[in-house]
Symmetry: C2
Subunit: 355 residues, 2 copies
């Protein structure tokens, strides 16, 4: 017999696809700063790599003075760095594009954040040494599969410009929220690139190669490119840092509310600088008020914000949220439409009926 | 350390609200005829009733010859009936209405089905005897809360016309899929009314009253009414039986596919008679082909259907599914718009890009 006292209402991941596993965080129902491991969004290009890591070594090679083969033990002995970082899939909010865009129909929850601990990539590169001709650092994951467009097997591999690879907060993470990194999120080592969209944070790292040219793998030169035109590739440019953005968590879209006091709350985040202002409109953009923003100095995390609304009148209200960051970037009214649906960051919008 | 061999990709309930708990079944990812208990959609009007059922008695009263007070043991001793039934929330697919409708934004998964075992309500009413003036049977649940529109506390209570109450397949269920009914789905007893939308299947039954008039509680006379007009209540009529309907499970909406063979698959169901035909269009309704329908004689269950599509041409395709039942009802092109968004059953539609 089931016991009513043991039932706790809780949200779950929202399934977009199972093979490969793509599930998003129920972001409207998240109340913590850090997402628990099981509600962290899952975005995979392939089925999970079937490997045992009992004999794992990380190879650092290419344009380095001393190629390295590091055991897990070696890496865990090095000085660690802890960063609090929002990871956002560049396809987050894709389902909101008009005209609609094909691909995974992410809602507003292809993003999560938490506390990552690991070794700065810079530390490893300092140990190996970098040759003068070095331009980019290529990070390869253990996950792989056939790309039907190229009729060939590829592993998930991406590069970072040397400047970003050497940033002291770009880390090879092995802990998430003070727990060992879970297999599904990249055990034993996952690259964490703060401020970049999630595609940069390669999971299940196999090797790191320093190269003297621009890397042109398909997860960099075909996918994760903004294509502004439906019919051709003119104006294509790579997806890199996170756009300034905000999401209303409460009230829920299309909710019916009573007259009286309601808290409008949500989150805001950016890939450049930090959030300086979140504005709320209750009249579809005619007038704006500033929301209270909490902990706005945290540059890699989202910030929470809230606004108290005393809804005395009955009727239908379109509520908007608009974030601005310290570089002066602000959310646009219309998103930057692109063929593969990356980087959506238009002003967030919900509708409610007060009755 | 997490073990890759232990990770199984699986879908979860989709959270629409937590207080009260409203979560839908990930219907696109369901491959079984019967939904496991944990993926069965949850639709509550209130927080869960906080009751211990150790001293449970079911009262049958009103216009009966012999009022009864039955223990759980008494009820479990009576001859049982097993029915395979789809339950569908009348708000299923509400989010698809245009213009949009306020309320819980259910997608296509506010429905589930399984095997229910219990005692026919008819059996209980035969034991108590029904007086001649009887017109309706009122079933009250233990769940209750304040209705802000009426500023008063109500329990969840609904009536059935005598004819439906006496139907041999209308049961007081205590088992689901051969397991004791779980608390969240109505333990110890839940009314199951085949062919009616789910609001009729009252959970946590407290008492059953036979009355000689038409019951006018708010979950019958305010909610669960079709209001065809935005501005007034003209033409209001009650939500009762399930409309003929179908849902495409595969491919996923807005998926990118390769050229070649694809199986289009889904389910179809109706509240009257049984499904006789499911037609598929791959050209937004210009031409139609019949899908293969499995087990089409099962009248209370959904039927599965599939259609093999050899997509030789590249391009964008709008795929439709249209079910017809044995009473000649078929899915309309446009849904019957109504203010509270009940009974959506327009032809189902997805878009895919073949590339």
């Amino acid at each position: 017999m089931s016991d009513p006292k043991h039932h706790v209402e809780k949200p779950y991941l929202i399934t977009r696809r199972l093979k490969p596993e793509n599930q998003e965080t129920p972001i409207q129902f998240i109340e913590n700063d850090f997402i628990s491991n099981n509600l962290f969004y899952r975005r995979n290009h392939f089925t999970y790599p079937k490997l045992t890591f009992s004999n794992y070594f990380l190879s650092i090679n290419g344009l380095v003075t001393t190629p390295l083969l590091l055991s897990m033990h070696n890496i865990l002995q090095l000085p660690s760095k802890t960063v609090e970082v929002v990871l956002e899939c560049s396809g987050n909010k894709r389902s909101l594009f008009e005209p609609r865009v094909f691909g995974e129909q992410w809602g507003k929850g292809a993003m999560s954040q938490g506390v990552w601990k690991g070794v700065p990539l810079r530390t490893l590169l300092e140990i190996s040494g970098i040759k003068e001709a070095a331009k980019e650092v290529v990070v390869e994951g253990y996950d792989f599969g056939v790309r039907t467009d190229l009729d060939k097997v590829f592993s998930y591999t991406r590069s970072l410009p040397l400047k970003n690879a050497l940033h002291p907060d770009t880390i090879i993470a092995y802990e998430y929220n003070k727990q060992p990194l879970s297999f599904i999120h990249g055990f034993p080592f996952r690259l964490i690139v703060p401020q970049w969209y999630g595609m940069a944070s390669v999971k299940w790292i196999k090797q790191i190669s320093v190269i003297g040219s621009h890397f042109t793998g398909p997860y960099q030169n075909i996918d994760y490119m903004y294509y502004p035109n439906e019919e051709n590739d003119d104006g294509a440019h790579p997806v890199t840092t996170i756009n300034v953005n905000s999401t209303i968590q409460k009230p829920l879209d299309m909710a019916r509310l009573n007259t009286g006091k309601h808290v409008i709350k949500g989150i805001a985040w950016t890939g450049k600088g930090c959030i300086t202002k979140v504005e709320i409109s209750k009249d579809n953009g005619s007038t704006w008020s500033e929301a209270q923003v909490y902990d706005s100095k945290s540059s890699y995390k989202w910030v929470s914000w809230s606004y108290e609304w005393d809804s005395v009148e009955k009727g239908i209200f379109t509520i908007l949220s608009k974030a601005t960051d310290s570089t002066g970037q602000t959310q646009p009214i219309k998103p930057y439409w692109n063929r593969n649906g990356y980087g959506y960051n238009a002003i967030d919008q919900i509708k409610v009926k007060v009755e």
